[in-house]
Structures are given as structure tokens and as C-alpha cells.
Symmetry: C2
Subunit: 183 residues, 2 copies
């Protein structure tokens, strides 16, 4: 069974175990095995916070190495862009030649999210990239050059971080593409 690395800031949700189970159930329904980076499966009792962080890093890399593709939650997180840890993981999987899929619960283009001072320039005087993409070009670049798929839709503010309808749509499309299942 193909394994999906379920990347995203979902690990920071108030109930990450519940979020993981919901995503994994959707993966199973479409014929995939969903793998969730679980920090709490490791024993950190003897480690400093820093060493615990390094241990989680190594654990996440080992999990990515076992997965066949990545489906990244690219919903903006603590800023105008997606979670940086997830972006790192997209790069790691892209370098291995694995398909990169992504979704966002924010339907807006990047240019529509960055506060603008003058056209194309932000409030720090720095240029705002404008490629008709939803975040920095490296991210959708990885998706489209790896035959992955990106989908997005504006969720309400209440379920901006938790809605899974777009996620499910991407899993369905990935199944159609990679598992040759009927829709």
C-alpha cells in the first residue's frame, strides 16, 4: 500500500491525535496509508528540549524516507505563508523525486494575502512575487513538476485550520492518479 507523509502544522492543533486520525481515515478510504509525524511516540524524558527537537527531526526524516509521496497542508500559518517545517519537508521529498501534493484552506493567491504598500511592493519596500501562485514559487513549482496536484478553497475562520474537505479532494485526486482507482 502506498504511504503518504501527512505534512502540516496540524501537529500544533489543540487535539493533534484527533486531527491525525481524521486524515488517516480519509487516506485509508481511498486506498493509501497515511503516516503522521507523531512527536509523542518518542521518549524524551532524558533529553534536553534541543536534543528532543533533533530527535524529532531524525524521526520525521526516517518517516519521509519510508513514504511514497507527501500531501502538505499549505494553509497559511503564523504569517502570510505556509508552515516552514512543512515547506522544508516538501523540499526534502521533491529532492527524492517523490510526488508532492498540497492543499490550502485559504483560496487566495499569494499576491492577495501580502499587505501592499504600492503595487507589487510590501510595507517593507520589498517586492511581492506575482506568478499566479498561492505561495512562494518553489512550493507550487515542486507540485507541478512532480505531477502532483494543488487544490484550495476558502474555509470559514472557524475551521480554517481544521477543515478537511479540500484535503479529501486532493487524496481522491491522488488516488485517481497514482492508484488508478475509479473516482
Amino acid at each position: 500500500m502506498m504511504k503518504i507523509y501527512l505534512a502540516g502544522p496540524d501537529v500544533f492543533l489543540p487535539n493533534p491525535l484527533q486531527a491525525a486520525a481524521a486524515k488517516q481515515n480519509i487516506c485509508t478510504a481511498y486506498g493509501f496509508e497515511g503516516m503522521f509525524p507523531f512527536d509523542n511516540e518518542l521518549d524524551f524524558s532524558n533529553l534536553s528540549p534541543f536534543d528532543a527537537g533533533i530527535a524529532i527531526y531524525k524521526s520525521n526524516l526516517a518517516l519521509m524516507d519510508r513514504c511514497d509521496l507527501i500531501v502538505a497542508n499549505m494553509t497559511p500559518f503564523r504569517g502570510v505563508s505556509m508552515d516552514v517545517g512543512t515547506a522544508f519537508e516538501m523540499g526534502y521529498m521533491a529532492a527524492q523525486g517523490k510526488p508532492v501534493f498540497g492543499y490550502s484552506n485559504d483560496g487566495r493567491l499569494y499576491t492577495d494575502r501580502v499587505p501592499v504598500l504600492t503595487p507589487g511592493i510590501d510595507d517593507q519596500g520589498q517586492s511581492i512575487e506575482s506568478f499566479g501562485m498561492h505561495d512562494n514559487l518553489m512550493l507550487e513549482g515542486a507540485i507541478y513538476t512532480s505531477n502532483g496536484i494543488f487544490q484550495c478553497e476558502q474555509a470559514s475562520s472557524e475551521d480554517y485550520y481544521t477543515a478537511l474537505s479540500v484535503f479529501e479532494e486532493v487524496i481522491k485526486l491522488a488516488a485517481n492518479q497514482l492508484l488508478k482507482l475509479a473516482p
Copy 2:
């Protein structure tokens, strides 16, 4: 001569050519060749914005493939975290087993930058990772497990995006480590 991929949001500065030249001169002074992702070396005249973005993606990947290490500008950019395109590139280089170096012109830990609602929880009710690191653990994880080096220092607001003193310190340390030069 070892080639450094100079990753960072410096490409969005008002004068990116000047920023690139300054970084490349420092690399040269310490015995490296600095490679800067130059969007404008490509001819986009016949491409849609989206296709231009894809072309830049491919160009940046080809450049990373030619480089021996990455030195990432991890200064926070449009949010509490670093630029997501740069984070992607750190993951791409880490997957190739190349050394990952980084610097930030922000000296604060991640936990000191995220607006806190209650201890360890942000204003969206999501947990704030606390590993004594300066951003998401995947980033410093990549640096320390690849024998790279991270340095940071709080720059003044005027040169927060342009200061190169910490960058130079990292290049010097990289030269000591990789080129076996005297300090």
C-alpha cells in the same frame, strides 16, 4: 572551488543585484564561489506568469544541484518564521546530504517571537513548539545533523533585512570547517 547556494528572501530586496554582489564578494574572500538564484537571467518574455514561476523553480533546482552546500538567510520574513521558499531549499539540499548552514538577523528564539495567549499556546489556541531553537525544528535539525552551523544576532530595524555581519561570520566558520583555512 566549493560552490555555496545563497538562499534567502534577499531576491525580494529593492536592489537584489547589489545584495547578491555583496554576498558573493564575501564568499570569494573566504575561498568559496557564491551562487545566487537570479530570476532575471532567464527570458520570460514568452511565458505566462505561472510558467515563468515554474521556469525559475527549475532553474533554482539546477543551481542547487551544482552547489556543494547551502547558506540560508533565516531572518523572519512576512510572519514569525523564515521565508518558505528558503525553507524548501534547505530541505532539498538536506535530502542530497549536503551541509546546511544558516543565519538570522533576529537573535530571538522562536518562542520569543510568537504572540502568546497562554503559556505555550498562541492566539489561535495552537501549541508553540519549544525546543530552544530559532524556528521550526526541521530547520535547525537539518543544520546540526549535517554538521552545518547556525548563527544569529539582533540587527537594528533599519538593516534587519540587509545586514551581512552574521552572514560573514557563518561563511568564515564554513570556510574553517570545510576548507580547513586558518581563522
